[in-house]
């Protein structure tokens, strides 16, 4: 059990515990560290937190986090408007961007359909996605939700929702990971990989 120290320090320790992976012991270590070694850094952290909490909102177009009306990606005129990649989280945008090679736009769901947990189509704000696509200009929607059961259900729901919009709808390929040995891949993944097989063109 954590030992209570003083109201202000206890409050600081409790506050650190909202961070993922931070238990009582690490929170205590963090609090005592900045108090002893880095007060300036602590102030910077406090300011950054307050500014971000007050000013970061959702991009009006893609729902990515940003503090301006439109995020950097949406504001970038060199991007391909005809491609729209739908992802579950803002972290997924970063992952795709860091992988490189994609120059289209995004839409962030900030979640996935999980009806058994009470997260249905309404909770996910899919009407905004529908409106964005309905506004025109998008030629292909790439459904890049996770390859979990919920991610699959979300992708299929969106595909049905957009079916009559007259555009191409694709799903990211998933199956055996790069460098993966079949022997160690679970049966469900192998079944998916087989279903999503593609033609291997051989020249000559």
């Amino acid at each position: 059990m954590t030992v209570r120290i003083s109201p202000l320090i206890d409050r600081l320790i409790d506050a650190f515990r909202i961070l993922p992976g931070v238990g009582p012991k690490s929170a205590q270590r963090m609090a005592l560290y900045i108090l002893r070694h880095n007060r300036a850094g602590g102030r910077t952290l406090a300011d950054a937190l307050i500014d971000a909490m007050e000013r970061v909102d959702y991009c009006r177009r893609c729902r990515n986090f940003c503090e301006t009306e439109f995020c950097n990606i949406c504001a970038d005129e060199r991007r391909d408007d005809s491609l729209l990649c739908v992802v579950e989280s803002a972290a997924d945008i970063l992952a795709v961007e860091q992988a490189g090679g994609y120059r289209g736009r995004y839409f962030v769901l900030h979640g996935r359909l999980s009806p058994i947990d009470g997260l249905g189509p309404d909770a996910l704000g899919l009407d905004r996605l529908d409106a964005l696509v309905g506004a025109g200009g998008v030629g292909e929607v790439i459904l890049a939700t996770n390859t979990t059961v919920e991610g699959e259900a979300t992708a299929h729901y969106i595909a049905e929702m957009l079916r009559d919009r007259g555009l191409a709808i694709s799903r990211i390929a998933h199956g055996v990971p790069m460098g993966g040995e079949l022997e160690y891949v679970d049966g469900g993944t192998i079944a998916h990989a087989l279903r999503g097989r593609r033609n291997l063109a051989v020249d000559g």
Binding site: P115, I116, D117, D122, T148, V149, D164, D186, G188
Partner: protein, 235 residues
Amino acid sequence: MTRRIVNELAYVLHQRPYRETSALVELLTVEHGCVSVVGRGVRAGRRTAPGLHPFGRILVTCSGKSALLTLTHAESLDRHVLQGRALFSGLYLNELILRLVKHDDGHPALFVAYEEALAALAAGEEIESVLRRFEKALLRECGYGIDFEFDAETGRSIEPLRCYRFQPDVGFVGVAERADDRSVFSGATLLAIRDDGYHDADVRRAAKRLLRRALAPHLGDRPLNTRSLFGDHRR
């Protein structure tokens, strides 16, 4: 009192993240009905152990003193891969089971019915027929089976040419004429549903209407969330 389940066959119905690396997993077992377990560390590396996703069949070992047992071992056997509407349907079956089946109540026949339904969905069988067959089996196993043989009031056999009103917890009661009543069904339709003969679209529609009414009292006032997946997107 410590409860222990050792190497029992189970299907994963649902799992949700719990703390940093753990997951709460809902299972349908052969001998113990629905079982909730916490799998500690199963999401280490941000990816749930492959067998612990819905529709996965596992051999489970778990124990504990409360209603929530601790998963000690899960051996992944195989998993049905469902796509599209078949996937929505599978999630619907899972929600139905979670809502109707009690903990610590073994239902070997229900387990088999679930297994058959998943296999049929994965094989691309006509979805409505699969769902109705399963709903009937689920009601029967939970002790709410529908009696398709006899008029609940007179005790006489259901006759194809007569009409019957369905009353949950009572059964079918003969009515003089076919009023404009969503609870009234023809005897011929009831006998077709009894035999799972769903090739006729009218029978499929009637079966859906009947089973919704039969399930409703056991679902209370909370709607089934998975029904929202089967939205009508036509503009």
